[in-house]
Symmetry: D2
Subunit: 372 residues, 4 copies
């Protein structure tokens, strides 16, 4: 047994932690989120230079071909910084879909640009709910002489407003589900921003008779839902790592506050109730960290791990939500003021909990994996 990161992983952790702490404070995060794009394209480019968009991209496609363990290291720091942008949807989720299921043609067409930070991809796989189920596939695909016509509408598509490449799930007339690749800007695409609590650039993506050539399908035709499920399960580990990182910052903020802020002449951290809150925060953080490392390690090892993956996303969501609620308790009214930044983590916790399936969804997946 060995619970340490190896030398390269440790270096990546140090480098990414430094990068974000130097270049990105919470005020800048708020400013970036308030822009149309919703993120800093400048930072995006710098991350490209550091090779971070290519962590999960095979070497042959211009990436570094590392494992989910390295991605978890990076995602923790992104989450800790509350760094906004399409990293998760493009450099993680879309990359997993392409790297593991696409044929050479699509990999070569898309992955090098994505690894270089020059192409942003996103995925539209569920319709008007956050329920990640085959029955919720948002688009219908009709065969034509020369290819396909797609119609339908999906809510909650991250960063569709700036994505270069759209990967969408559509159901054909025979009921089979396939993934299609669409270039932004094609006729019939319309994108509208959703005002959500998290101000996290979720969009409505409507396809109105969008014409696609025959070779637009990513991976085996009809295998779309299996591909999505496989990628969602793995992407959920990276999302969990992001949450663990966010939880760490939220906890540090509250503990720092508890050490400094005084009441009746004592730091509030000397009160038993506050001490218990802080201890509980660290307990939630540590347990979420461990289930996340375990899931990342199992994925990196290529082992079957449906139970561990469902536990990872489910528990990390719960733990992050509970942790942030405790941070709010410790910080009182101060945590309530926007400039403190705690609200960024609160929103991140809510948005992440719903991403790739809620805690309820993961409990059901887990029950299935347990044979129930």
């Amino acid at each position: 047994m060995d619970l340490d990161l190896n030398f390269e992983q440790d270096m990546l952790r140090t480098a990414s932690r430094d990068f974000f702490s130097r270049q990105c404070d919470l005020n800048m995060v708020s400013k970036w989120m308030a822009t149309d794009a919703g993120y800093s394209t400048d930072m995006w480019r710098q991350m490209a230079e550091l090779g971070w968009h290519g962590v999960l991209v095979p070497e042959v496609q211009g990436g570094s071909g590392l494992s989910m363990l390295e991605m978890a290291v990076l995602a923790m720091e992104i989450g800790a910084a509350a760094f906004p942008g399409p990293f998760f949807t493009s450099s993680i989720f879309s990359t997993l879909l392409l790297a593991e299921a696409a044929d050479e043609h699509w990999q070569s067409a898309l992955l090098p640009g994505m690894a270089a930070g020059e192409r942003v991809a996103t995925v539209a796989c569920c319709g008007d709910t956050h329920h990640f189920q085959a029955a919720g596939v948002p688009y219908r695909a009709k065969r034509t002489g020369s290819g396909w016509v797609l119609d339908g509408k999906a809510l909650f598509v991250p960063y569709a407003h700036i994505a270069d490449t759209l990967i969408v799930a559509a159901q054909a007339e025979d009921g089979s589900i396939s993934l299609f690749v669409i270039n932004q800007g094609q006729d019939g695409i319309s994108v509208e921003g959703l005002e959500t609590i998290a101000s996290d650039k979720l969009c409505t993506l409507t396809l109105d008779r969008v014409q696609l050539p025959s070779d637009s399908i990513l991976g085996t035709p009809g295998d779309g839902w299996n591909i999505l499920e496989m990628a969602m399960k793995k992407a959920a580990v990276a999302k969990s790592a992001e949450m663990v990182g966010g939880g760490r910052t939220a906890m540090e903020m509250a503990v720092e506050h508890a050490k400094i802020r005084e009441q009746f002449g004592h730091p509030i951290g000397s009160f038993q109730a506050v001490q218990h809150h802080c201890a509980n925060m660290l307990t939630y953080l540590e347990s979420a960290t461990l289930v996340t490392w375990k899931a990342a390690w199992l994925v990196a090892e290529g082992r079957d791990c449906d139970e561990e993956l469902a536990i990872c996303k489910g528990w990390t969501s719960d733990a992050y939500r509970k942790l942030v609620a405790l941070a709010h308790q410790v910080m009182g009214g101060v945590g309530f003021i926007e400039e403190t930044g705690l609200h960024l983590y609160f929103r991140h916790a809510k948005a992440s909990e719903l991403a790739l399936g809620s805690a309820t969804h993961h409990r059901e997946k887990l029950a299935q994996a347990m044979g129930l």
Copy 2:
């Protein structure tokens, strides 16, 4: 034992429910909240015509001299509508302070205008935290030849930016605490809006050598904290009633969604997990409603009820927060979209939990009342 409202109370309930359902939907609420004032002065005037600002004002001062039971009836509907504005701080909290502790001079000077909806008052009683304790009094008062000079700064003062009258707690050089009445617009007052999660017009109120005449003290000099505590305890019942009303709407929204929204061809309300969530919401709502009615009834009866008051605010805060979290679970991503309006209740729950002392604060008050 009789748990029904009487005829007049029932009429008030029907009238206020009708009023808000006809005049105020959640889109308008959002619009009003986005204005500088933060509320609809037109609605405010209509409420004045209906006599609602004067519910707690003695008849001799132009009010209707009703009890906390009637105010609870009204506050529930205000909370249910998520109706924003200074009603709580002016027509409830400030009114209680004046009606129960001020001498005839201040009552006559302020209450008739407040009952008529022509004067808005607010209270600044705590400094830079939400901890409601004598030690947190925000201002310092210095005797001068002709009166007083006040200095200091308070965070979280509701609607200070539009209030005509400011009631502030200040500590004199001898350590005693008194309440002072200040007219808006006087030299040395500055008000700044705080960006909070709830966008509920909390302000920073800074007093910089504000000169006041000798008769500016409300109630017995040196008795300020006792007066505040007494009024806060009673006002907390009305705040709880507001929360109960908000909880009712949030629950109804989620239950309606559960009945209509389908998944796999069934309404999601037919799934056991959703049914349990709905049952738990109603259980939280009902228990919070009953502790609130009991507290309102005891206050109306003039009985000692420190335990019941602390339970009321503490449990209602907890129950409302839990209820809204369940509503979010039921509504999934849809509850996340701003136009649904659920977020208004989420914010209301957070803001109300901190108002007049957090759940922690009320647990301690309760432990005290239990003799611990």
Copy 3:
């Protein structure tokens, strides 16, 4: 609105509280529970003299024909004393079945003796689970020339080992369910005690070709499940009152301990964590008390109240369990020692939670009543 008990109810409360505090301490409770009967027949007789077995029995049948409010008053004191015995199954549940559904014949045959404390009745309505559903009816009834033959086995029948009268639910060949009255001692009956965590005299009641005359059916033939459901709903209010009483004693025990026991030279009740536990106990107790009073009042008023009844049993079960867990936290190892008596309330909480349907069962009933 009036939340006080009336004069007679208050007298009954005082009288019953005195009775149990004088005659029954926790050591005696433990001793009685360890006997074969499992209760004190001497106390049972004294309660008969006080008229308590007849509270719900109509006056014409020798009872006092009082309402569920009076029964709730009494049941609270029984629960507070952890007083063991068949009071709930005979003087409440069986009495409700008979008083509300039986024809004059059965009422006259059984109720006067039950009111006088000379006859003990019990009910066997579910099979091998605690799920209270028509599908779980334990016995099969077959028509014969002269009457019926019953077969089957039920677990968890309280005090079947000493009951004079057994009321059992059986399904006829046509699928209809009826209630049958059986005299103890008849051929084919066998009773075996179950070793349960609560040592509360639950039994297995096996019927092996038990012959019954035609007039053995209680109430309208085929209406058995409706009668049971109606009586279970009302009986659940009395069971909730019992739990509220038990919760009160458990809390008092822990609060008393917190005031007296010292650690580091201070009473442990001066520590914030213990104060919060105590405050939370009282909050659970108060909310459970109020939902119980409301349900009892609605039943006494004869109003429809399916929602309130389901909330009452569901929340009181939850609140009692949480309260006892907190009492254990406060008392530490001391609460762990049997002679302290806290374990009696822990067991009572567990047994009561399962009686007449678990919290899950009541959540489902509530969801149904909400239209889901």
Copy 4:
């Protein structure tokens, strides 16, 4: 990173799991617990032959000198089997005290016999509460010409009634605390069994002018509390492993029940509420398992890990208690019947939670380690 056990650890796991599953079922456990000794001396001897009492004993003293990781493997299986006896107090806690703090004299005198299963030791370190604090040291030590005289009384001393060697904490007149070794049977010792909920052979150990020679002190004189704290922290990892094992069995019992037991013609495991309960059980189990492995690994590596140790015991206690409560929900009335055996795990959870400091205690230790 590597989360697998190594070959030897895996072998130990397989061997111990087989041993307990072949030799010890829950009926036998109940029978052993009901004897005076409270455990099977025959099984004890067999475990000695397998070398298990010597896992933590240095090789030079006849043990195998393995690490906390191996002990965690073994303790999990002991917990899973609900195997009763003084293994924890003798072969873990006392062994740690001796192996890490005693001089060669005491090690040679005691450890070989303990490793061989021929000597049972136990520890009396706290007085009349479960609060593990220096201030709670139960005995007073007075210097005499030739040695020491000890007086005092401790509650909750495990298996003191059969222990050969008693290690007790006593405070000298100068306030310093030392550990003393006492042979059973010496004048002035009296032991009485405590009736606790867990029937786990906790005793009252009274010392009445017990005379000890000068060399009775274990480790550096005056260093008693530090030695105890160090050993308690490590022993808490093994106790956590025991709890993790117990949690596994309780979960398996409930999941098995959910798969087999039918309601309305479906296995109850097909109901969503039961599925969620099962998923939550596994989530608690997995998170507790991981924090336990991490703590065991850090101890085995000899690293500082105060935070991780406090998290380990605190969270494992919480998780085990929650898991068993869910198992009770799933099993309903059946979990309530003693022969099912679930109650053994419930009791184990309660007893283990209090052993070596409650969850509250560990939260405080954690807050301290966090710098609060």
